[in-house]
């Protein structure tokens, strides 16, 4: 099944967030400054990128939906 651009972006957002959270999960095991740095430098940017991509996807989607136009008036001036 082919995916729309919105769905492709949502898929990527989900993957980025999942990878970021998996990194976060791994760093939560450690009592070490490197664990904290990995959380800040790898996990947080991945999760943030996923969230931004999600917001971008739904914003692009709302831009793509054409605004509802009032129906053109008929020959007699009536729009019905």
């Amino acid at each position: 099944m082919s995916l729309t651009p919105l769905e492709k972006r949502l898929r990527w957002a989900g993957v980025l967030i999942s990878v970021g959270l998996i990194v976060q999960l791994l760093t939560l095991r450690g009592y070490h400054p490197l664990a904290f740095v990995a959380f800040i430098a790898i996990a947080c940017p991945l999760i943030l990128a996923g969230m931004v991509l999600f917001l971008y996807a739904i914003l692009k989607r709302s831009e793509a939906i054409p605004a509802v136009q009032p129906p053109a008036p008929g020959p007699g001036g009536s729009s019905a």
Binding site: M1, L3, L6, E7, L10, R11, A13, G14, V15, I17, S18, G20, L21, I22, Q24, L25, T27, L28, Y31, H32, P33, L34, A35, F36, V37, F39, A43, C44, I47, L48, G50, M51, F54, L55
Partner: protein
């Protein structure tokens, strides 16, 4: 809630968020329905924000622990110095008598260290990591504080304490308490409480061995 309880909660929250994010990723056609759109909003925005915030809190709490501070090899002698069997050593007597929480012994007396300090302290923390893994690690006895030890660290517990306020040694001059409070007379550098970690002479010290729990 205990830190272990908070950690478990974070792990559960992160696990659920990963699961839902993967469901949205690999069953993305679900988002064509209204309920699927709501699921996507929760899984890709609300829950990741909560999980990251909670993860950050957990990391900050862990960074206060003695175990975290001593995780770098160069700090091990400082941890060892907490077991010096001599009550004139300030950190040792505080640690051994639980005058500071043993599991947060370092942070209790060094509250502005690295990420808990100002931006300069945070940058120093990054530099410490660089030196630890890519630079030349100094000898433990060569490590010094960047700024003189501030009496504030002592006074946040001792200020207002009867034994401290009434001690004759703290009233040798009329303004001694005022000088201590304003940090003009250092607690550790005035021949009063000058025995601190004693790293250079650690090999000559005797050590307290706590009974196994």
């Amino acid at each position: 809630m205990s830190s272990a309880g908070t950690l478990l909660l974070t792990i559960i929250l992160v696990g659920i968020t990963i699961l839902l994010a993967l469901v949205v990723s690999f069953r993305v056609e679900l988002t064509r329905a209204t309920s699927g759109k709501m699921l996507a909003f929760i899984a890709l925005f609300i829950l990741p924000a909560f999980a990251t915030f909670q993860g950050f809190n957990d990391h900050m709490e862990k960074a206060k622990t003695t175990q975290f501070c001593l995780s770098c090899h160069v700090m091990e002698p400082y941890g060892h110095s907490l077991y010096i069997d001599d009550p004139s050593f300030v950190p040792a007597v505080h640690f051994q008598n639980h005058l500071v929480p043993p599991d947060e012994a370092c942070f209790t007396c060094h509250t502005t260290y690295t990420m808990f300090g100002d931006y300069q302290a945070k940058l120093r923390g990054l530099r410490h990591l660089y030196v630890q893994y890519l630079g030349t690690v100094p000898k433990p006895e060569d490590i010094k504080l960047y700024t003189p030890y501030n009496n504030r660290e002592c006074l946040h517990c001792h200020e207002g304490m009867r034994k401290f306020e009434e001690a004759a040694a703290h009233h040798r001059t009329p303004d001694e308490m005022a000088q201590i409070a304003s940090d003009h007379l250092s607690c550790t550098k005035s021949d009063c409480h000058e025995f601190i970690h004693d790293i250079p002479n650690l090999k000559d010290d005797s050590f307290w061995k706590p009974k196994a729990q």
